[in-house]
């Protein structure tokens, strides 16, 4: 007889017993200061990405709005056009603040699109692989293992070098690099969930396989994947910016944060720190807040995840 005795009975706090609704979850999530700061800033930054182009002083890609006269202005200077460049301008005379907002937008777009797609693909593959097992599972997992055994930066580098710079290629390479992580994790949780008795009950109730997969298995596999999702978004932003920094990411005409920093590389030694400093700060801030949110999710879900 298994008497579920806890050696030290964790006192059941009312919050642990409460309803598992979305609001309740939100309340628990926001109970930590770290999560409140992270989540608040994340919402703010995402909002900035959405409406940013409408509020920044110039469109840095519109050549008619950019003047060489204004290149390399220090933060706070006033340009020939009459606006104040709070974060200075770069070598082409672009307002850094505007360029950063556009760059962040692009970086976030690439990371979000790529990670979400990888998440969708990986989840479907992992779920099927875990549920059906057998030869399909072996083949898929061998592919995923091979994929994972090459460091992401290296795979992405080779892919980008092959395909050439471009937003689409960038998204594709990130998908190729990351799908396997999702597939592996979902498969692992599907294997665990598959053995639970509620799945047997569903089989016993003669429910169709598709329904068992979606209504029973999938929803219960999603928790740990959510944490992985946030972690990989942060990593995708870094990967994108690294590739762009190396000159094989986004095209020169559409600078993301990485490319902006790369442009500031040469200027650093001449003391024009702002061209590389500010985009970098924003990049770090974004990654940091995503990681803060991910960390809190991990705490709440407490899954045993590969770091």
């Amino acid at each position: 007889m298994t008497d579920h005795v806890q050696p030290t009975p964790a006192p059941i706090s009312p919050s642990a017993v409460a309803d598992r609704t979305i609001w309740n979850f939100a309340r628990r999530f926001l109970a930590s200061t770290q999560a409140r700061i992270g989540f608040g800033l994340l919402v703010l930054l995402l909002f900035l990405c959405l409406i940013g182009p409408g509020i920044v002083p110039q469109d840095p890609y519109d050549l008619t709005q950019v003047s060489f006269m204004d290149s390399r202005l220090a933060p706070g200077s006033v340009s020939s056009g009459g606006y104040r460049h709070w974060l200075g301008t770069d070598a082409q005379g672009r307002d850094m603040l505007s360029a950063i907002v556009y760059g962040l937008r692009l970086s976030v777009f690439v990371a979000l699109t790529a990670t979400t797609t990888a998440f969708a693909i990986g989840t479907v593959i992992g779920l099927l692989s875990g549920f059906y097992g057998g030869a399909l599972d072996t083949v898929i997992m061998r592919i995923a293992d091979t994929q994972i055994s090459i460091p992401p930066l290296l795979s992405a580098l080779v892919l980008m070098a092959t395909a050439g710079p471009g937003v689409g290629n960038l998204i594709l390479s990130i998908i190729v690099v990351y799908w396997a992580y999702f597939a592996r994790l979902v498969r692992a949780s599907a294997l665990v969930e598959r053995r639970k008795e509620y799945v047997d009950a569903a089989i016993c109730l003669a429910l169709p396989t598709r329904r068992i997969l979606l209504r029973h298995l999938l929803v219960n596999c999603l928790t740990p994947v959510t944490v992985l999702f946030t972690i990989l978004i942060a990593r995708a932003v870094l990967l994108e910016s690294t590739l762009s920094f190396l000159g094989i990411g986004v095209p020169v005409t559409q600078p993301s944060l990485g490319l902006l920093i790369s442009n500031g590389f040469g200027e650093m030694m001449s003391g024009r720190y702002w061209i590389a400093l500010f985009p970098g700060l924003v990049l770090v801030l974004f990654t940091f807040v995503v990681n803060l949110v991910g960390d809190r999710l991990r705490e709440l879900f407490n899954p045993k995840l590969p770091d």
Partner: protein, 321 residues
């Protein structure tokens, strides 16, 4: 008058949860004499495991012992330093845990886990410690102990692992062994083997044994005295025959009467209604009153311990006989 081997006196253990003080063990007292077996019976959440851990002084934060004394051969172990307590643990008081699959470190050899228990308390050459450990392993019924010393826990069956755990508890011939649900995870045949060994070992060595379980039938066969816990308190205590044949507390009675063997086959079992309260909302007064058929107004007050018959005490306003 002789001093009992272990005397637990008015012990309270409280946990701090979200700023509230929850009482897991409330004013628990009992004595165990050398070579005697005390059966501590209760359902999950009754505080029996916490009682065990407080005897070892192994209650982990946010829990702590807030009141009471625990005397080992007359000396209060709640008053000694942590380092002194460490020397008592494993040598004077030993503990056996519920799940033998989880109790042994999976990456250390059996010999390592036994010998460290010896060397923690006695200075002796490793070789001698090894021989001693091997002998004990043989005594608890592990076949070919010489070879098994080198093995890892995963190479043992559940029953064998529990024997290893018992061997670790027996290394220093302790005065008291606290066994917390030590056979619950095992099959009946293995359980009876383990109970057989424990009975033999403890009576040979005049070790006092506290056997914690939810299973009254095991206690009936093993224990001399029985204490029944409910919601953190001992509600009834006495010699095993008294408790089983003449129980006074309605909870004890209810537990016993709900056993299938005490009912007519195929007929509905007599049952205790409701569920045990969680720590966070233990009813004031007598905690059992919400499930008790005999409860009246007065049960809103905490009943005192009464001892109408020598050695048989209960906490009830309306004892059954």
């Amino acid at each position: 008058m002789t001093v009992p081997t272990l005397s637990v006196q008015n012990v309270c253990v409280q946990f701090d949860a979200d700023g509230r003080e929850l009482t897991a063990v409330d004013d628990v007292s009992f004595d165990v004499d050398p070579g005697r077996v005390l059966g501590l019976v209760g359902e999950s959440g009754s505080g029996k495991s916490v009682t065990a851990l407080s005897i070892m002084r192994l209650i982990e934060s946010p829990g702590r012992i807030t009141r009471g004394n625990i005397l080992l051969n007359g000396h209060d172990i709640l008053a000694v330093t942590e380092e002194e307590m460490r020397h008592i643990r494993g040598s004077r008081i030993a503990m056996i845990f519920q799940d033998p699959m989880m109790t042994l470190n999976p990456v250390l050899r059996i010999e390592t886990q036994l010998i460290e228990g010896i060397l923690a308390h006695r200075k002796m050459p490793w070789r001698d410690a090894w021989t001693h450990a091997r002998d004990i392993l043989g005594q608890v019924g592990v076949p070919s102990p010489d070879e098994r010393m080198k093995a890892y826990p995963h190479q043992f069956s559940g029953g064998m692992r529990q024997r290893v755990v018992i061997a670790a508890a027996m290394l220093h011939e302790p005065d008291v062994i606290v066994a917390d649900e030590a056979t619950t995870a095992l099959d009946v045949t293995t359980q009876s083997q383990i109970l057989f060994e424990m009975q033999r070992l403890c009576s040979d060595r005049r070790t006092a044994l506290i056997w914690i379980t939810h299973d009254l039938s095991v206690v009936a066969g093993l224990a001399h005295e029985v204490a029944v816990m409910y919601a953190g308190r001992i509600v009834e205590m006495g010699p095993v025959d008294e408790i089983i044949d003449n129980s006074m507390h309605p909870y004890t009675r209810g537990l016993m009467e709900s056993l299938p063997s005490r009912n007519q086959r195929g007929r509905p079992l007599r049952q205790i209604p409701g569920t045990a309260p969680s720590l966070a909302n233990i009813p004031a007064g007598c905690a059992f009153r919400t499930r008790c058929g005999r409860a009246t107004e007065i049960c809103f007050q905490q009943p005192e311990v009464m001892e109408p018959r020598a050695g048989h005490s209960s906490r009830c306003h309306h004892p059954v006989n």
